[in-house]
Symmetry: C2
Subunit: 250 residues, 2 copies
């Protein structure tokens, strides 16, 4: 795998698009990926519609090293993620014996292991399971696609179960410098420092707090020396221009 490892996220669900449910998975997965040196490049949110899911999945999986989907893996009629993934990969879908066995152990009462529950045991041919200790439906991995739950604490647990199986690039390092500074007054400094430090990006994040305006500047690089040099230059330039700043941010 090249030095830069990329990923896309596909969030699936009408409830997110209607605003009824507020997504919490994007931020969580984004943070997780950043920490292990995987560069999240794109996120898409689509409805519970097979054609939409397949189109978005194909766009992301052919372009990035990893894809993570959330949502649509429950037992009801609107849970069509596994079927859509199978179609995208052009493979069949069938009950996974390991999941069926686990369900049989778990749902022993009369009628408990019904058709709907069994539906959650269906996995695309050739897919591996991602353990799910918290609810019925397992996650799956097929090719570079990881299908996870929509419920945030289950998705988090599935992501956790993937630890060690995802190959990251050089982790992106970041440091923050901030101050009660109007970003518009230091825009030239930021641009110039970024321009003269290859491999470093500077993000500027203004805020309003207690009626005052400030900004944090986040410097990112995979190269610790370049990062250090960029921060030093930025701090020097801010100091010379008469700005107070706080390493670590405010």
């Amino acid at each position: 795998m090249s030095d830069i490892v990329t990923a896309g996220i596909l969030v699936i669900g009408d409830e997110i698009l209607s605003g009824r449910t507020k997504d919490k998975n994007i931020g969580f997965i984004a943070e997780y990926l950043t920490n292990i040196g995987i560069d999240l490049k794109e996120v898409r949110v689509v409805s519970d519609d097979e054609a939409e899911i397949i189109a978005a999945l194909d766009a992301l999986r052919h372009r990035y090293n990893y894809v993570f989907t959330t949502g649509g893996i429950g037992p009801t009629h609107d849970d069509i993620t596994a079927d859509s993934i199978a179609k995208a990969f052009g493979v069949g879908i069938d009950h996974h014996p390991e999941v069926v066995a686990r369900f049989k152990e778990r749902f022993q009462g009369a009628g408990e292991l019904n058709e709907a529950r069994l539906r959650m045991a269906r996995t695309p041919e050739g897919a591996d399971l991602i353990p799910n200790r918290m609810s019925g439906a397992p996650g799956i991995r097929i090719g570079n696609v990881h299908m996870m739950a929509g419920v945030p604490h289950i998705a988090a647990q599935m992501l956790d179960a993937l630890t060690g199986t995802l190959e990251g690039g050089a982790p992106l390092l970041s440091e923050t410098v901030g101050g009660w500074i109007k970003e518009s007054e230091v825009a030239d400094i930021l641009r110039e420092v970024e321009r003269t430090h290859d491999g470093c990006q500077i993000g500027s994040y203004p805020f309003f707090r207690d009626g005052e305006v400030g900004a944090n500047f986040v410097i990112r690089s995979t190269d610790p020396d370049a990062l250090r040099s960029c921060i030093d230059t930025l701090c020097e330039a801010l100091g010379e221009a008469g700005f107070d700043f706080t390493p670590g941010g405010v």
Copy 2:
């Protein structure tokens, strides 16, 4: 405009993809659109990269009635949304006289109206302004694209300023029925009730709360009579199958 009015959201910003900032705009805009009868069909999140912004913008603006962008409208080097929109539309970009006049009134101190601040006054040719009473950069509307701030309370205020200018379809109505019911045990009922009620969708949203499993079923339709009939049928079917349920949800 047809009965169904659609929209896409384009969130722009490395800080969202790195997980450093958690997006709050998607949920807010989604809810706003649902309330005025606009059907949000897709969301994309891309980095502060001109080619990525233009590609995503073109995909969304040609497909949906409205597009809303958030982020990248500040004064710093990584704020390139207005330029990217101008390029996507194939128009020039220049300082907007109205914004420059407003800035001149606001920033009267020596050097206050610097190059960086003036940069925020640049708007694509032919764009209308979306008022922004809270900070420097205005939002803009060009064609079906609405460019808004990334900071949530400013984006919210800009969206508010658009009220009355967006043409909605028949508003999507929704009602909720819920209970301490395992969704897998009522999956057949949900599927069958949805199938026999044209123009109605039923979403199933399971939850874990206080150690118990439950689910809310959200019935959506633009037709109030169809919605009523669908809810009645669902409640009847749940009752006949021996489930306790609560209109309005649990």
